[in-house]
Amino acid sequence: MLRILSQALRTGLATEPAPSTDDAELAEIGVALQRRIDARVGRSLALRQVDAGSCNGCELEIHALNNPYYDLERFGVHFVASPRHADALLVTGPISRHMEAALRRTWRAMPAPKWVIAAGDCACNGGEFGCSYACRGSVDQVLPVDVSVPGCPPTPLDFLRALLAALSMPER
């Protein structure tokens, strides 16, 4: 226990701001994001992530959003386990046909506003895989997409910008 306390004390606060070029940008995007969430949702924003054929590169970067540097929850965004609790669906991958039905069902289970974010090149335009016997080729072939986040994979900051964009969309 002593060692844990000592390690915790030595580590200090890793959450940015910390010496990094991304600092100002992260703080700026984060604050803007929090304002939009307050205005649009009036509580924290619940995200449900579905991998529909990703190579798992996007998942690694989405995981990074929860690390102490980005600490997504401080901006009022958190990932939920059930689509029934989710405001937005974060979809990765070129929509493998084997995941098509599961993705549709996940979306159907969500309450409005049902925002859909296509995350990564594959979800946006098929990426390296495209359209084939095995893949639909992009999220918009299957679901209405509100925001696209290109990148292979998108960086954590790209994801934050996309969330901000999603919340800045006019009401449907």
Binding site: A14, V50, D51, C55, G57, E59, I62, H63, H98, R105
Partner: protein, 549 residues
Amino acid sequence: MIDEIHMKPFDWLSEYRERLDDEGRLVRDADHQGLTPARRLRLEAEDWGAAARIAAAMGLRHAGVFADPPDLAPPAQTSTLPDDEEPTITLRAVLEQQGDYLVLETQVPLALPELPSQTPWYPGLDRLERHAQDLVGVRFTDHPHPHRWTRHQAWREGRFPLRADFPLAGEDQRRTQADRDYPFEALTGDGVYQIPVGPVHAGIIEPGHFRFHAEGETVLQLEARLGYVHKGIERLAVGRDAVGLARLAGRISGDSTVAHTWAACQALERASGCEVPARALVLRGLLCERERVANHIGDIGAICNDVGMAFIHMQCARLREDWQRASQAHFGHRLLMDRIIPGGVAVDLDAAAVATLRAEHEAMRRAIAPIFAIVDELPSLADRLLTTGHLQTKDARTLGCTGYVAKASGLGFDLRRDAPYPPYDALAVEVPVQQEGDVAARVRMRMHEVRQSLNLMDELLRRLPDGPIAAELPAASAGAIGLGLVEGWRGEVLAFVRFRNDGRIARYFARDPSWFTWPALERLIHGNIVPDFPVCNKSVNASYSGQDL
């Protein structure tokens, strides 16, 4: 015919051939043309099962089987057979012992593609054979579980996406239905119940279905149903050029992008006779060790998180982020995608970067020391991780596991030591093993590998030669084949490549180590409580995408 001088002594090959001979099995020839460093034996299809039985009796490890159908297009010119011969499907099986590789090869007619299964002697091949059955249409006559594996509802039974008559776009553009009627093995008894999980899981994780049979809290049986992220990678590879293939290989499993790209490039380079510059090889080693460190640190944290130890998780997540930012700064990509290219690498390091990297390695060593000490000794972690998810040595061996899963169960195979490819041929890579086979042993293995990789990277930086970082990839001859073998962070990554006559790819197969660690998970979970599944799963961390292809 046999080019002995380039080969190190192959102690077991002559005995294997003798045993085949004793049974009257016809071996047509043995060479290693195109499949360096492996040797090749051609067999009759009817002897395919017997060859596996003899190999298993000799204790050889099976590293996978894959089918190579006739070319998609243009069929006539690219065929390596005379026009009047009937089209065939080639099957290749890879065996290994003491770091020596042997490729068994046989052919079956496309019109009647049947041969005995090797699964009865190598249960780890179960799903690889069914993958060949679903995509190429090979029938394994005595397969114990002959039902579909990779195929769900995206294409019809009796149609095969890697055959020439199957359109790339597929044959049915309607919505793909959810999979149904998959014959899960049923277990019945008083108080036995099923828990179906997935394909969509609760966390940020890849999709797959797990069917548990449990009694009370105890798992009696686990059956995984994968294939949800099947992307048709093998079909998409056909017709690509070398650069395009390397990009595709880099997306077989994002967390192993370096290992898969390296293995694919090795296969391409061996098939075309490319001499990769020494500096590029050292940089490749550096990239691969960086990938190992990133994944192990992230996973050690995630394993602790799965037993409620969020502190370690956050500490490791912090270090992983530092590491990925350094990867971006030095190599231009946080996950190191597309840094390896056919013929070399895409990025170079200057002297300043080499010095910075050394300092970063030292900083990481200091940063992990107190964290790993806590993981090693904290009683509450020991309580959850010791004896949990025990994989027996014999199961790890029978299934063909490699990497930390095998090493934690007493099997000390590591390509970097046992079949070293440059730059590892000049380094001393020690491969300690753990005998316990539980989650704690896999965590200890991973902590060891992090420390070892940091040392190896320093050694590689010391040996970084001057010179170019890439060479031109020579044009490959029609039908040239190559095998790539790389020790990725999960274990042995294998890649096979065959060229067409126009310099493009006719066949690419990548075998991630996850093919063998998924069945290991099904075995090691037996007798554990259901709530320990996440930590058992994370300690193995097989790739869904790497297996589904």
